[in-house]
Point group: C2
Chain length 318, copies 2
């Protein structure tokens, strides 16, 4: 099935759930590509309702005015073709329950979020709906109410959960690519999640635990580079035990890519500094618990997990 560009543009109704930096950026680009995009936006609701989002980006600055901006998902009176979930992954949030009121029989759900196994409960709750996973390789920062700075990168990897082809994925790729968001389709988004976790599992936690460290700080100390490698190797082992073997050069490639990056402050570090909850369970807890079930030894991952979960509590307490 093919769509002409204009029919695609006119036909898709998107609801963004979690219009933080990720949701606003990728939702805004869909709107730019012609989609009809509504957004549930909690933290900057007043500003966004009045002025929309203002995005500073190397792809060209743009405004994104959701149609409409909602304070709660229950205010949405339509049935979306696509729900784009871009919420932070926190353990006490029941995403499936949250989406329930607006999921129609044809609604697809795309979850652009960190971690592994994050689609499980949504896919279970809506067995007849198409669920997609999405990975954003992007550096975004909220610089004020409704103001987003797109600093670098921006590539998306999307795919049907747990695997297989998807018309919706093809359609979204066409839309995003038409506005310069490089979008690839993966035949196994679960494997793609593990692959991304190889980078996230060491760098996100260590940027926080090592004292506001950039990727460059972490790559300049011999001992931290060793630890980064160990954590990456453990993630590769857990992925393998879970049935998702990654290419043998995965660790080295991630190290090499990081050395080439502009010094980067991870999203977890930004959360920590703003005293927001960090995605401890999504990034570390899930792989640690899975490793324990599968009898994979992950002492470095466990060390990071133990300390980060307490640090997260301490950070929210004070």
């Amino acid at each position: 099935m093919t769509h002409t560009s204009s029919s695609t543009k006119n036909s898709i109704k998107v609801l963004i759930v979690g219009a933080g930096a990720i949701g606003a950026f990728y939702g805004g680009k869909l709107a730019q590509a012609g989609a009809h995009v509504a957004a549930v936006c909690r933290s900057d609701y007043d500003t966004v309702r009045e002025q929309g989002f203002s995005v500073k980006s190397p792809l060209g600055d743009f405004q994104f005015v959701p149609q409409p901006t909602l304070h709660s998902i229950n205010e949405y009176k339509d049935t979306p073709d696509l729900i784009l979930v871009a919420l932070k992954v926190l353990p006490d949030l029941d995403v499936a329950g949250l989406l329930q009121p607006v999921v129609g029989p044809q609604t697809a759900i795309l979850m652009i979020q960190n971690g592994v196994s994050i689609e499980d409960s949504v896919a279970e709750t809506f067995p007849n709906n198409e669920v997609l996973g999405g990975l954003a390789f992007v550096c975004l920062s909220r610089i004020g109410p409704g103001k987003i700075h797109h600093i670098d990168y921006g590539r998306l990897v999307i795919g049907k959960y747990p695997e297989g082809p998807s018309d919706m994925a093809n359609r979204l790729r066409e839309l995003w690519n038409s506005v310069d968001v490089k979008t690839q389709i993966t035949p196994s988004v679960v494997r793609a999640r593990w692959k991304k976790l190889v980078w996230n599992a060491p760098f996100n936690p260590m940027s926080v635990l090592c004292g506001h460290a950039t990727t460059q700080d972490l790559m300049e100390s011999e001992e931290t580079v060793k630890l980064v490698r160990h954590v990456m190797e453990e993630v590769v082992q857990v992925a393998k035990a879970a049935g998702h073997e990654l290419p043998p050069n995965t660790v080295q490639e991630n190290i090499d890519d990081t050395l080439k990056m502009t010094p980067y402050r991870t999203s977890m570090l930004l959360d920590y500094e703003a005293r927001r909850p960090m995605e401890v369970e999504a990034i570390l807890g899930t792989p640690v618990h899975l490793a324990r079930r599968l009898n994979v030894r992950v002492p470095h991952l466990e060390s990071l997990y133990a300390m980060l979960q307490l640090l997260n509590q301490q950070n929210l307490k004070t």
Copy 2:
């Protein structure tokens, strides 16, 4: 050889090198016991020169006026019977070189410091002098210039380095015990250092890495207790490989003792908060490097070490 109490009190000339909280407290108690105590004091020199140290203590508050207070070791014009080294253990400090000008043929050197192997270079440099190690089990805090708060505990364990009996140790035990500082003599101070490291290696670093955590915070999270145990077990393994087997119940005893403690902020945490250098090498670097030489796997210790050494750099940088 025995001494009467009064001859002991009158005969011993002590020079404190590093009159921070530890040096001032234990040196002050020696002065109280009748010893003649001089002190090299850098940070609070002016205050201490004028007023001495003022110590608030459950053993009874007291003043300690060093005779004299020196700004540099080179100002000391006598030959001490005992040098009490209570400096922080930092890698770029050459303690042996520092002591050289004042070590006479009969001078004993007692090092009340954290870590293992800290006596090595001093013992090598002064092969004909008696070198003693000392471990302070005490909670002290500097609360202002020349002002020390003795919060809790206070026990000392001292012994000839690397092992064996010592007249000087007996003499010091007599002096300290006479002023209520419980002092025990150990036949193997090296082993005693490993034993103390079993506690220090997890709790000092984790109090910092986990976000200003007290011992109680660390004992309330299941994951951090697990990590504490793993780190303790690794220290026990390294000690064993280095020839110092610790009792089989060492780890459990340390856990039980910690549960009984008043919530406690470690000395490393106090250093971190004051942006002073932390004893990273003494507490973690030395055991990690030794473990690598002895082929003992210490993934949890290595994780702490990697992160703490970068955190220390970051903390001093900003």
